[in-house]
């Protein structure tokens, strides 16, 4: 209550509502009481603040009223924009936002496409690339096919020519035997010497084309080479070629093609020399026919001791064979040619100790029917 009375007094004093007596009394009170003095100063400040606040508020609301009134009277531009002005306004207001949005959209798009690129399974990419590479591939394949067709045509022509050649009668016929798995054969020179075409047939009836590598007419030895794609290199030759001279009366056997099937004959070594004391050959007591020419002569150990070459026309059961050591002579001579320097003759017989039947079984695949025209 006291406070309120004091406040009332202060306020009336500030507002100048006091009568002169009262005012004098209050001023004395102010001088003696610092609290009252402080209250007066404080309240003055407050009232000033209130006044200014009041005026501020009033002016504010008067401005608002003015605005509304002027807008209604059309003396200022209406808050509502119309037509082009509105478009311009909207554009001005939002162009920045629009630009930022566009940039964000662009960045986002790029980012997404990048991410998609990164995270897309690579296989697809590879497939696409493969497809693109396939075009040259296909071209290449086409070229290759064209080549192949041409090759085939050529082959057909070759075959045709071969077929044309086929009827060529192989007048000469004999036997030959492999001395190397790669297709080197030994036979008699007289069988093939005059032949333009040579063919060899194994005991299964498979015929291969062969070429004359070298002929030694003086020794009646010829080296052939099977020159045919169908011929498969054979493994180790089961027999060896003997360097030694054989003993008289040694039992021997031969395999040959006096006809189209392989024929086995056996006999013995009759003499160490050939016809009329020919040291090149040896004499055999064996039943031999024309086709036996060039056939290998084996001893009981499965070693080649000679090449069956001739027979005495006047006596049955007498044949001559070129001694096997001359095969070495021939091969050594052949090896001087660099193309054949690796040619090695089989020295060891793998069929030693087997009975003749087994030996023949193993050997027969290496003995060929040699034909020449």
């Amino acid at each position: 209550m006291e406070d309120i009375q004091i406040l009332d007094a202060v306020e009336r004093y500030i507002k100048g509502e006091m009568n002169p007596d009262e005012r004098l009394h209050f001023e004395n009170l102010r001088k003696t009481s610092p609290e009252i003095d402080q209250l007066v100063v404080e309240h003055t400040l407050f009232l000033q603040q209130m006044n200014r606040f009041g005026e501020w508020k009033k002016f504010r609301s008067s401005l608002h009223d003015t605005h509304t009134r002027l807008a209604e009277q059309g003396k200022i531009d209406s808050a509502r924009l119309k037509g082009k002005a509105k478009v311009i306004y909207l554009w001005k207001r939002y162009k920045r936002v629009a630009a930022i949005a566009a940039i964000i959209a662009g960045v986002t798009t790029l980012a997404i496409s990048t991410l998609v690129n990164i995270f897309t399974p690579q296989a697809d990419n590879a497939r696409v690339q493969e497809l693109s590479r396939d075009i040259p591939n296909i071209k290449h394949q086409q070229n290759m096919q064209v080549d192949e067709v041409n090759n085939l045509k050529n082959e057909v022509n070759n075959i045709k020519s071969k077929i044309n050649l086929q009827p060529i009668p192989y007048k000469a016929g004999g036997t030959g035997f492999l001395i190397d798995g790669k297709g080197f054969l030994v036979t008699n020179a007289h069988i093939v010497l005059t032949s333009r075409h040579i063919a060899v047939t194994n005991n299964k009836g498979e015929q291969f084309h062969a070429v004359l590598v070298k002929a030694y007419p003086d020794k009646d030895i010829a080296i052939l080479k099977i020159d045919d794609d169908r011929f498969k290199t054979l493994s180790t030759i089961p027999y060896g070629i003997s360097k030694e001279e054989s003993d008289v009366a040694e039992p021997i056997f031969t395999l040959g093609y006096p006809r189209n099937d392989i024929v086995y004959s056996e006999g013995y070594l009759s003499a160490k020399t050939g016809f009329n004391g020919d040291t090149l050959s040896c004499q055999l007591g064996i039943a031999a026919n024309r086709g036996n020419s060039g056939g290998p002569v084996f001893n009981h150990e499965g070693e080649v001791i000679g090449i069956l070459s001739t027979k005495e026309t006047e006596a049955e059961g007498v044949a001559f064979a070129i001694q096997s050591k001359y095969i070495f002579t021939a091969i050594n001579e052949l090896r001087k040619d660099t193309a054949y320097k690796n040619l090695r003759l089989p020295l060891k017989s793998n069929v030693r100790g087997l009975d003749t039947k087994q030996q023949v079984k193993k050997i027969q695949d290496y003995v060929f029917f040699v034909k020449g025209d």
Partner: protein, 213 residues
């Protein structure tokens, strides 16, 4: 292109208005009269200044990413700055009202843009401006104080708020207030008013101190 036409259009409008004004009184005298009127918060003077300058400010704000509501806000704020200035008695007119208002609005809008977003720190000028930084700063300080007072009065609640507003702001007499609020006599109303005033002062001075810190 439209932009240019728009601005030319506005320019022509201003020209028309200024010709009208010039036709009535000499511009210098006219401006002084207007400012005197403004200091008294004379309705006519306020209205004249308002309608002479608002369109220019509106186009300034609209040209710088603002809306017409922003324009109204900013212009009224500038009017208050001018009002406070002429009332302080220290104001000397060394430029046109138009230039002053424009400069204040420009400054205020720049500040507003900086507060709203960081991407705009430039305002495309449509007119020359004078330095008004200090005035704007003073105005902002006062605004803070007035807002403090507003808040303080609001936080009193009814009937204190209306009672105090009626007496101190609307300057009604205690008899009128007593009748209006239904008090049996003016003394009771007065007692009630002082109770409210003590509360308000408490709140205001505590806020005032906090605000000053």
């Amino acid at each position: 292109m439209e932009n240019i036409f728009f601005q030319v259009g506005l320019g022509l409008l201003f020209l028309k208005i200024s010709i009208k004004i010039n036709g009535i009184v000499k511009p210098e005298n006219n401006e002084k009269t207007l400012l005197k009127g403004l200091a008294r918060s004379d309705k006519k003077a306020v209205e004249t200044i308002y309608k002479d300058n608002f369109n220019m400010i509106q186009s300034l704000i609209l040209n710088n990413n603002g809306s017409s509501d922003d324009a109204k806000d900013i212009f009224q704020e500038a009017m208050i700055v001018l009002y406070e200035k002429v009332r302080s008695g220290t104001f000397e007119l060394n430029c046109q009202i138009k230039t002053y208002l424009y400069s204040v609005c420009r400054r205020l809008w720049l500040k507003r843009l900086q507060q709203l977003s960081r991407y705009s720190n430039e305002v495309a000028d449509i007119q020359t401006s004078v330095p008004v930084e200090d005035d704007v700063e003073d105005h902002e300080k006062r605004n803070v104080e007035f807002e403090m007072m507003d808040k303080a009065i609001d936080s009193l609640g009814e009937p204190c708020r209306s009672l105090l507003e009626a007496y101190y702001l609307q300057k009604k007499t205690m008899q009128e207030i007593a009748a209006g609020f239904g008090y049996t006599n003016a003394d009771n109303a007065k007692t009630q008013k002082y109770k409210c005033l003590v509360r308000l002062k408490k709140i205001f001075f505590s806020q005032y101190k906090n605000g000053k810190q």
